[in-house]
Subunit: 370 residues, 2 copies
């Protein structure tokens, strides 16, 4: 082969490689995709094939002695976000601006070493100041812009304690200070103002709308989490105005004589649930446990999570019980709201009967095994 | 009031009471109802408001060291029954004719004290005869007849061990005897003939069709249960003929190099599942575990139970992961068969994605909390 032709071939090969590499670069330059949409739910951001996890991942899991406060805080925060950022126009991203260190410092008490602590200094050990701020979570709301995702809004949830548990001496008896509703509101608003100001100092967060939502934590022994009571949508660095939220959570059936604000529930709802419960609990010779978490918006029941616990002795018992529960649910439980019924034994879920949000059809699924 | 009128009134009142009482008797004489029907499932018998549980309730739960053998035996027995007793014409009742004592005696070894034991005498302790028969279950199939339910058929499942574990000395090392496929079949047929003859001695079971189904138990360390390999439908007191069943169970992904009959699975199914698995397992920075139980009828995959285990750090992670899995399931998993995907952390189920038998639509449900 002549040298001239060799050169041409080599340059052609080189040119082609460059084109191939360039197009590779282009096709992989769209690094973002989403988890796919579900009815009324946000799509989530996937970056280079991996889910983009929170920069403060896991902080709140260590922050809640009552696991119901953790789950309900996070579900509730998404519920509040939907009021401002439509699931059709925005894509959800786990918080990328508050990292583990920052959130842990903010959740601490204010000391010389930790000037950023949102909770007051301890004061006297025999009569300490309560820790008010219990958890903080950031959610980012994005929109696609060419090949990348652009931040278009942030939601911050702040969980405020309704009681403070402490010991006067290490290993001494436990004491509890109740924190009044007014104080929960006041402390939430104070923390919100500080948080907003600090976020605005980050250039990336200078101009996006920041929603701050305030959550009242349930007591440690509650069988249902707390609820959000206010939110504000802010464009500047001071809180614009608060919108009241009237969410309440309750445990059903209502214990006789309980009548405090966090467990308040409509008498009719409670009666309906009690009818459902008595239909279900004597199905087997052994009694089944039947309890529910309920959520209210104002006086309207907006959803229920029911748990039925019993001892099963065969798969056929599970099948029959599940059918029976599906029938009882249709007959006794309120229509038009999302409800799920977990049917379990030994804390293992055996089947589920549910009606999703926006649907009028009950679904049943039994967990079998080959 | 005249005595005559008094008498008339009294007799009228008595007569009316009799009528009322009689009609009370009548209205409560229909003591039976059912659990309600589900698509392709049997209704179950409810008697006076309570589920009619098995007379041998709970015997099999103590009988299986491997819990997968228990669930798969019971689900599989119902699957076999559906071949003979249509879900449209028959109502399911838990077994009422074999009681706890009887089943426990039958499952024992044959001794002087227990002449009814279906398993051979122990023989030498250093080289014992295997126990072949591991579990027995009765299912009754009923039809409504006026105000009561009438027995129209019985199905008996018999589980035969594929291996026998024993110790030569108490607390000594464990030994295992493998039981060949031929021997499993042979022992199953021997036990079936004895069981059929004994059942026919009960006047209530003299004339109904009795289906006997034989199940090969999976080894104790298997991650999937065994499967049914034959059944017979009998009108007399000796086995008429055996129909082969070609069910097989397998665990996916298939471990490299495994190639025995109980874990045999189609290579394409395994590849599809591996694609699904690699899509899912690197979603989070922490790796997720993805395994499946598969059932085959001959060479056709007939269903899968998939379990995805990972550590979640927030409710939003659960929501995003569930959406992503639903999308991957549509893309990678085979169509036309029932599949469920349990998504769990710390052995607690967080959500489920499934397609039921006969449906072409994937369903998603996330377990939230208030």
């Amino acid at each position: 082969m002549k040298t001239k032709w060799k050169k041409v071939i080599i340059s052609t090969v080189l040119l082609m490689s460059t084109i191939v590499l360039a197009s590779c670069g282009k096709s992989s330059s769209k690094d973002y995709s989403t988890t796919g949409s579900g009815a009324g739910n946000y799509q989530g951001v996937i970056h280079k094939g991996h889910y983009r996890v929170s920069k403060a991942r896991g902080v709140n899991t260590g922050q809640n002695s009552n696991p119901y406060n953790l789950k309900s805080f996070e579900s509730g925060l998404t519920q509040v976000s939907k009021r401002v950022f439509s699931t059709k126009s925005y894509i959800f991203q786990e918080g990328q601006y508050l990292d583990t260190n920052t959130v842990e410092n903010w959740l601490g008490r204010k000391t010389k070493k930790n000037p950023e602590g949102l909770n007051p200094a301890q004061g006297k050990k025999s009569n300490p100041n309560p820790e008010y701020v219990q958890q903080i979570e950031e959610q980012d709301y994005m929109q696609e812009s060419g090949n990348s995702m652009k931040l278009k809004g942030v939601t911050i949830g702040i969980g405020i304690n309704s009681e403070y548990n402490y010991q006067k001496k290490t290993d001494g008896p436990n004491y509890t200070k109740n924190i009044s509703n007014d104080e929960v509101h006041r402390q939430g608003e104070i923390a919100a103002q500080k948080v907003l100001k600090r976020l605005r100092q980050n250039p990336a967060l200078k101009d996006v709308p920041i929603v701050i939502a305030l959550y009242k934590q349930a007591p440690d022994d509650s069988l249902v989490g707390g609820s959000f009571f206010a939110y504000s949508k802010n464009n500047g660095d001071s809180i614009s105005s608060w919108h009241d939220l009237d969410y309440k959570t309750a445990v059903l059936p209502k214990a006789n004589g309980t009548n405090n604000s966090t467990t308040e529930s409509n008498q009719t709802d409670n009666d309906n649930f009690s009818n459902f419960k008595s239909q279900v609990q004597n199905f087997f010779p052994n009694v089944s446990g039947v309890t529910a978490q309920a959520q209210y918006d104002g006086k309207s029941l907006t959803g229920m999570h029911i748990t039925v616990t019993t001892q099963f002795y065969s798969q056929t018992e599970i099948n029959s019980f599940t059918q029976y529960i599906a029938r009882a649910a249709k007959k006794y439980l309120p229509s038009g709201i999302p409800i799920d019924i977990k049917i379990q034994s030994d804390s293992q879920m055996q089947s589920v009967v549910y009606r999703n949000n926006g649907s009028d059809k009950w679904q049943t699924h039994i967990f079998e095994s080959y």
